[in-house]
Symmetry: C2
Subunit: 145 residues, 2 copies
DNA sequence: AAAGTTGTAACATTGTTTGTTTCAACTTTC
DNA sequence: GAAAGTTGAAACAAACAATGTTACAACTTT
């Protein structure tokens, strides 16, 4: 079980938009070339990032742009945007615990809070990194190459 | 994307072994009845818990037992035992970033450490809860019913 | 020997993820 | 306003993963 690669792809996409956006039009085709991800998937991801208010895209003219400063976009924002977890959270419960069993009918009460805490720990860590840092690190490595 | 339900099932199973182990033989059939999980899956989970040194089982005689005190079994131990994540970690990378693109060939270097930190945050949170606490909470709720 | 249990393999089913094809709607440029 | 390039989106396909099912050998106890 792993978190969808759309998440790392989305970070990659946003980094490209910031790094290359000044000098060229960053289209889904270009992003597909850089990420190795199918262009339609790229457009899906861009659509989710757009709904989350992270990027702006336009039909026809082409080229994606960031909708806000890189310092205001965290990895958590991206994680949420691509819906790495659904409404029921990161952990999945076995579906039919037996309500006739004392353990079965109470396991949810005992575990739910702890699972939410673990999920929150992950998410809080993702909130600590902004796209600005990712872009800065990337540019630094490129310069040193 | 969600973490396999084998994890919550495993916690459920271990709780049952501790709660009911004193008064009866806790077989895979009984555990299947309490969890609502297929008996063969239960045996698979028990097999993984056995390999991890968490439970003891024996062919023929039947009935699972804990291999160490509940205070020495954390949710993280269970999480590891059922292999919620493979060797490549919780996050999955898109597979073919383009090495000809400056961003594509460096995105791993920039992201890997941060993804590992996020994963570690989740795992560290899971280390904070022991099976002893889960069992104690469960017994308390049962008594109050 | 009989009954019940575990361990395991093989297969089936279901659901999810990713990729592909297709095309309408849109924008820019000529 | 026609042509070219692009996005948005739907429908479908392929690959993969998770869970369930069937079957049976090996084992233990009675």
């Amino acid at each position: 079980m792993q978190i969808t690669s759309k998440f790392t792809a989305a970070v990659h996409i946003l980094t490209c938009i910031e790094v290359f956006g000044g000098e060229m039009r960053v289209t889904s085709d270009f992003l597909s070339g850089s990420t190795g991800v199918n262009a339609v998937i790229v457009r899906n991801v861009l659509g989710q990032l757009r709904e989350a208010g992270i990027v702006e895209t336009r039909q026809g003219s082409g080229g994606a742009h960031l909708a806000k400063p890189t310092s205001e976009i965290t990895l958590y924002d991206v994680y949420r945007a691509v819906e790495c977890t659904d409404d029921t959270g990161l952990f999945r419960f076995h579906e039919n615990p037996n309500s006739k069993c004392p353990v079965g009918r109470n396991i949810h009460k005992v575990m739910d809070g702890r699972l939410e805490a673990a999920q929150a720990a992950l998410e809080n860590e993702l909130k600590l990194t902004t796209l600005a840092e990712v872009v800065a690190d990337t540019k630094k490595i490129i310069e040193e190459e």
